[in-house]
């Protein structure tokens, strides 16, 4: 790990401010930004809402949360564990989407800008 060569390889070109501005305006980058934001923003609102719902239920719906599901396992415990499950699932879903839809677009732009082609 420590002996690997430095990251910044000498042939990497530093793009100019104009190039960044041009790329930012481009259709291709607009597409990348749209794909990212339309995935990440609604999902963030969704999981924060789901979490707040859980917090509110814990505070104000004691009877419901205390209802027994199986043996001594009640709704509160099931919902709490479901928060864990939903967190794992969202993380996995985001990683998959990012690798399939975002990374190729980002990589294409980066390669072009740094290669100067």
């Amino acid at each position: 790990m420590a002996d690997s060569p430095p990251l910044e390889t000498p042939h990497t070109r530093v793009p100019s401010t104009e190039e960044y501005a041009q790329v930012q305006e481009s259709e291709e980058f607009g597409e990348l930004r749209r794909s990212y934001r339309s995935f990440a923003f609604p999902l963030t609102i969704a999981f924060i809402t789901w979490y707040l719902l859980y917090v509110l239920l814990s505070s104000y719906a004691g009877g419901f949360m205390g209802a027994k599901v199986v043996g001594n396992i009640n709704v509160a415990l099931v919902l709490g564990v479901l928060q864990f499950v939903s967190t794992f699932l969202i993380a996995w879903w985001y990683a998959r989407t990012a690798a399939a839809k975002l990374d190729p677009k980002a990589e294409a732009i980066k390669t072009r800008m740094e290669g100067g082609a």
Binding site: L7, P15, R33, I73
Partner: protein, 540 residues
């Protein structure tokens, strides 16, 4: 019966003090060895601040878990569950769900656009000096609050486990922790710190897994049986398994709980010592991978604390737990003793191992916090504000090493003063400041085209002052028996956690400061930041 246990536990602890001390010394020697080795590999600023950016996603995920799972998580949450039942579990959920914000919105853009500190991203398209100063102030405030809680926790833990009760002994422990963290960080830099955190994460996961397995074994893997025994043994019945035992007492305590919940979920992605970990990997994809590993490890760990907390409640009486520490902080080590068998060698070995793991936990976390504050001081304040970006790499690294020593000494001093104060509020406060001052500024910087320097300053200082100010006038500081200063009362803010007010204040001020600014946002710089953050073009 329960008092007998306590006496036994205390005897075990002192009889097997040698064992605890040897395990602990082994950990310290091993980590110091790693530190010296890492120090030899640390040649330039990227090595010191970012570990050479050569760690893999998995290694960094492990180190993030080691950086994040503090003594508050291991000892605090297990103890809270053991005493307050379900309400203790609520912390775990907030601490975990918070990682989705880091994953979806912060980790990758930050990795792509920053170099060494949180300030790199906040100041990217702003006037450097004022925004760097603000970012440095906020980084140091958050990290010091967090650090004090850990140091005071170390003092409490060690004095209980080793039977050190004298004031001088406690101060000595705090000083020892401080000296070790100065050595880890000033010699080993980010490389040394990362390896210490990885070792600690492995030890902690193994320790928690072993205890969980033993607890479940005792109940024949019947979780319902474990919960039932815990509820019956707690003397609180079914209420022990339901929310509300701790936070459902009054309307105000319910709002306090919501406030805490918001601060926990929004704070993580604004903690500087977590953010700088994303710079230790080569690419944004590796940063993503490290968060995925961290979510898996941290999630698994918090599920295990559930077994530890309810296991402690099922196997010990509440009195036994509170006699050892009123806040329940020693429930996990006591549980280890019970699982191994009180008065048996096996029990003593388990107790000693778990205590050593808890101490390793504290050391790894304080190292991460010290690194975050000294990096920010050297890179944001010294190099970019005082030297106006003209410092050489050598000067900057020297400044980073010296600020480590300085921050370490300040923390030892404050930690010694704070050793007997109620520290539970400090971690929650660190999260509230991170969520009120840092998170709004990070999100606006990355995603809002119009955001200006004035907006950034208003959100950082506004969120910071709102959070710290409200805590100052809350029951955490005065006017309650559990307050830092129980004998005086100048509180008028009813909640212990300021998040529900201070987080919206941070967001609102960032917006207001922006729309009221006279200066135009730097469009060219935003184009650069946006393209860079999403594609990694030109990333360091």
């Amino acid at each position: 019966m329960s008092t007998d246990y306590v006496i036994l536990a205390a005897n075990e602890a002192s009889e097997h003090r040698t064992l605890i001390i040897s395990l602990f010394t082994a950990f310290v020697l091993a980590t110091l060895g790693i530190t010296v080795w890492a120090g030899r590999q640390t040649k330039d600023a990227a090595d010191f601040y970012a570990g050479g950016r050569q760690f893999s996603g998995f290694q960094n995920g492990l180190a993030i878990s080691g950086d994040y799972m503090s003594a508050a998580s291991f000892l605090g949450i297990a103890g809270a569950i053991a005493l307050s039942g379900y309400d203790g579990f609520l912390y775990s959920i907030g601490f975990l769900v918070a990682w989705l914000i880091a994953l979806l919105l912060v980790a990758e853009p930050l990795r792509n656009s920053g170099r060494y500190t949180m300030g790199d991203v906040l100041a990217y398209r702003m006037r450097q000096r004022p925004v760097r100063t603000a970012a440095g102030v906020s980084t140091i405030v958050v990290s010091i609050f967090y650090l004090l809680a850990q140091m005071a926790g170390a003092g409490i833990l060690v004095s209980l486990l080793l039977g050190i009760t004298s004031e001088a002994g406690k101060i000595l422990i705090v000083a020892l922790v401080g000296v070790l963290m100065i050595m880890y960080v000033s010699i080993g830099g980010m490389k040394g710190t990362t390896w210490v955190q990885m070792v600690k994460a492995v030890l902690l996961m193994f320790g928690a897994a072993l205890l969980t397995f033993l607890v479940l074994l005792k109940f024949n893997f019947n979780i319902s049986d474990l919960l039932g025994t815990a509820a019956a043994n707690s003397g609180k019945g079914d209420a022990f398994l339901e929310p509300g035992l701790k936070y459902g007492i009054s309307e105000m305590s319910k709002i306090d709980f919501i406030s805490l919940g918001i601060a926990l979920v929004l704070g993580t992605a604004g903690l500087p010592h977590i953010l700088i970990r994303f710079y230790t990997v080569p690419t944004a994809q590796a940063a993503r991978k490290s968060v995925l590993w961290a979510i898996g490890l941290i999630g698994a760990f918090y599920l295990m604390t559930l077994a530890l907390g309810f296991g402690a409640a099922a196997l010990m009486s509440p009195k036994e737990i509170t006699d050892s520490n009123p806040a329940g902080n020693t429930a996990a080590p006591l549980l280890a003793l019970h699982l191994g068998g009180v008065d048996s060698t096996w029990g003593a070995i388990l107790l000693a191992s778990i205590s050593a793991v808890a101490f390793a936990t504290i050391l790894a976390v304080v190292a991460g916090l010290t690194l975050a504050s000294s990096s920010s001081f050297a890179h944001d304040i010294y190099a970019n504000v005082i030297k106006r970006g003209q410092a050489t790499e050598k000067q900057e690294m020297k400044a980073a090493r010296w600020s480590t020593v300085f921050i370490g000494i300040v923390s030892i001093g404050l930690g010694a003063l704070a050793r007997d104060l109620n520290v539970a509020g400090l971690v929650a406060l660190a999260f509230a400041v991170a969520a009120s001052a840092n998170l709004p500024t990070i999100l606006y910087s990355l995603f809002w085209k119009r955001f200006t320097t004035q907006g950034a300053l208003w959100s950082i200082y506004g969120g910071l002052i709102a959070a710290v100010g409200l805590v100052l006038f809350s029951p955490v500081v005065s006017g309650a028996p559990t307050a830092m200063f129980p004998d005086v009362d100048f509180h008028w803010f009813p909640l212990s956690n300021p998040g529900i007010i201070s987080i919206p204040v941070g967001f609102l001020l960032g917006w207001l400061g922006t729309i009221l600014s006279k200066e135009e946002p730097d469009k060219g710089k935003y184009a650069e930041l946006e393209v860079r953050s999403l594609t990694g073009t030109g990333a360091h």
